[in-house]
């Protein structure tokens, strides 16, 4: 009987709901707070206000100010507090309000959160998920739009996720918070308000898997966060000219799905990686190296990169020129096809 019920629950299709990404993350936090009394949400303005992006809206009312609480304004102490809470058996989900404000907390994230399990030989695991509103595209003031993925992906001991839409944001957050390893969960601000019918699903793929969001045979566009959406637009435009582009959403920036990347690029023989962060030593270099190491014989062209420039994040009016534009991606596609 139990078996039957379980099977029914497992096969029942979750309903489609119309949600923005910010609401989907809120839903995930509700599920997580409800399922594990050790889960704590804290940071600047996450309580009564519900966060500057309203991601934590209503959580304090529902779960109380012991589970969801505001802290003083000090990013390093927020992350340091998460370490101590984790050592005392809690499952902290701290928020740092904007990516640029993660820099003051880098010592705690890199020297403490990322290393504590290693330093203590597994005695003090760090089941911490750092929620980090990330990337640009909203013409925000300085320090409110940065792309820190290479810094965190480069740090041993951290895992890094970047969802690209509401449904992904929901299931990746469930996965991140339930994991006993520390995860930097980078929320693309530019997609927070993107509202569409979505199906909220329990995660089924393991941590570190990518997904193909559009199938194609002429080249693979590899992206994460808001750039996935942009690459889908590029693919639509290219299709008008008969070019069929595959779009791969990396999702996990550490660990990277090498097998998934290799499978796609081996089929299409060409790869263009698109990201918002500056070019030099960015994650695109890692992706290009992985593709080259794994698909060298299949490649018909060198891996192209379309990225932000090696400049400090620019002010609003220049932001559209800094971020990879549809045209810049199309030019890269053209370059790769011309080989």
């Amino acid at each position: 009987m139990t078996e039957l019920i379980e099977r029914d629950e497992a096969t029942a299709e979750p309903p489609t709901v119309e949600l923005s990404m910010q609401q989907a993350i809120n839903r995930a936090l509700r599920v997580l707070l409800a399922e594990d009394p050790a889960t704590l949400v804290f940071g600047e303005d996450v309580g009564a206000l519900g966060g500057v992006f309203r991601v934590t809206d209503g959580l304090q009312k529902e779960f109380g100010d012991q589970r969801v609480f505001d802290t003083p304004l000090a990013e390093s102490a927020i992350m340091g507090m998460a370490v101590g809470l984790a050592m005392n058996g809690w499952r902290p989900v701290p928020e740092l309000q904007f990516d640029g404000f993660a820099y003051p907390a880098v010592d705690q994230i890199v020297n403490q959160v990322a290393r504590m399990n290693y330093r203590t030989r597994g005695a003090a695991p760090m089941p911490i998920t750092l929620r980090l509103p990330s990337f640009g595209g909203i013409q925000a003031p300085e320090h409110h739009g940065e792309s820190l993925e290479a810094l965190f992906a480069h740090t041993p001991g951290l895992k890094v996720a970047a969802p690209s839409d509401a449904a992904e944001a929901y299931s990746l957050l469930l996965q991140s918070v339930r994991s006993d390893d520390p995860v930097v969960y980078m929320e693309p601000k530019a997609r927070y308000w993107d509202r569409k019918p979505v199906v909220l699903r329990e995660p089924t793929d393991p941590i570190g898997t990518s997904r193909i969001v559009r199938h194609g045979r002429h080249a693979t566009l590899i992206a994460w966060g808001a750039m996935v959406h942009r690459c889908l637009k590029v693919a639509e435009l290219a299709a008008e000219d008969g070019v069929e582009l595959e779009v791969l959403d990396l999702r996990w920036l550490k660990p990277i799905d090498t097998a998934g990347l290799a499978a796609s690029v081996s089929r299409t023989k060409r790869a263009v990686v698109v990201h918002e962060a500056p070019l030099t030593a960015g994650l695109g270099a890692e992706v290009a190296a992985l593709v080259t190491e794994n698909c060298f014989r299949d490649l018909s062209a060198p891996v192209q990169r379309v990225t932000g420039f090696d400049v400090p994040y620019p002010a609003g009016p220049l932001e559209p020129q800094y971020l990879p534009t549809i045209d810049r991606v199309l030019f890269a596609v053209q370059r790769t096809l011309e080989y």
Binding site: T71, P72, S76, G84, L85, M87, Y118, R119, P255
Partner: protein, 332 residues
């Protein structure tokens, strides 16, 4: 010493004596090339042993930095494992941090202080009565994390004891170039916390100040800052040359105020022990220090595969691949 129980003061003496002997052994091990480097605790035994002894190692938690050997000893940490970090066998030490309730050795000196606040907040959220004690030095008191932590603890009324061992030298920089505002204890006021300045070479005074702060935290009355004024009589580390920056006459004056000697005299004066009792304690301390020395000197080096073992709880395919490559290459 009259007002403290005799068995307590004897225990303080035994731990301080053992820490002193172990410190001497550790310097010898460094000279023999067994330890690549060592940071001496000499002169700070009272501050460390007496403060750690005011805690309950079944429910409290200590967050040390890297010069807390005497605290670890008094708190009951497995000392071969602890000293392994000085032999560079494993950075954080090889003792079980969670079972010992004594955090891993940490060289970012302000870094562990907010951990104490988080641990303490977690304790209160659960409704338990454990207290977190964070050790840090006068140098660390300049770090942002320490200030952020005091403010957090004040706001959350977290059961934390901020225990500053002011040994007056942050490597080569003296107090007047390190601490503005007169003292570390004075800062507490700005965060709404009680700040206590105590003679760090007086084991009885340190014990009482810490016990009071712990009791206060335990009954829900919030954090305390304790500044134990002491002195680092040895160099910063075995790689340091203090003659380049300090007047050795000052060091000599502090050697006169040796905390082990002071406690010994006080015990005898209070009638808590006779000469022959203390001679027995001294002999025991020497034997214990020698056992720990032999243990750490002969401890096996970690296996190479440990490089990969504890990076994640759930390892990644990439890390497993690197581990396989490493294995193949070492087997060649």
């Amino acid at each position: 010493m009259d007002h403290l129980p005799a068995d307590l003061t004897r225990a303080l003496y035994r731990h301080m004596r053992t820490a002193r002997d172990l410190d001497t052994e550790a310097i010898a091990l460094q000279r023999q090339g067994v330890f690549p480097a060592y940071v001496s605790v000499r002169g700070q035994e009272a501050a460390q042993v007496a403060s750690a002894s005011a805690l309950d190692n079944t429910r409290d938690f200590v967050f040390p930095t890297y010069r807390e050997m005497a605290s670890a000893l008094a708190y009951g940490v497995e000392m071969v494992g602890y000293m392994s970090s000085h032999r560079a066998l494993w950075h954080g030490g090889l003792y079980d941090v969670m079972a010992s309730r004594f955090g891993a050795v940490n060289a970012v000196v302000g870094g562990p202080v907010p951990h104490a606040v988080g641990w303490a907040v977690g304790e209160r959220l659960r409704g338990d009565d454990g207290v977190a004690l964070a050790y840090f030095g006068d140098g660390a008191s300049s770090e942002g994390d320490v200030h952020e932590s005091m403010n957090f603890a004040g706001v959350f009324r977290a059961p934390v004891v901020f225990f500053c061992q002011n040994n007056q030298w942050a490597l080569s920089v003296p107090n007047d170039r390190q601490v503005a505002g007169g003292s570390v204890a004075a800062r507490a006021q700005g965060y709404g916390l009680p700040g206590v300045l105590v003679d760090g070479n007086d084991a009885g005074a340190v014990y009482e100040a810490t016990a009071e702060a712990v009791a206060r935290a335990r009954r829900g009355d919030g954090p305390t800052v304790i500044e134990a004024l002491t002195y680092r009589v040895e160099p910063h580390s075995t790689s340091d040359d203090p003659t380049r920056y300090r007047d050795e006459a000052e060091t000599a004056r502090w050697r006169e105020r040796d905390p082990v000697t002071l406690l010994r005299r006080a015990l005898l004066a209070a009638g808590h022990a006779a000469e022959e009792d203390l001679a027995e304690d001294d002999a025991r301390a020497r034997r214990q220090a020698a056992r720990i020395r032999d243990g750490v000197a002969s401890a096996p080096e970690p296996d190479g595969s440990d490089l990969f073992t504890h990076v994640f709880r759930e390892t990644t395919e990439e890390l497993s691949r690197q581990r396989r490559t490493w294995q193949e290459e070492v087997e060649l």
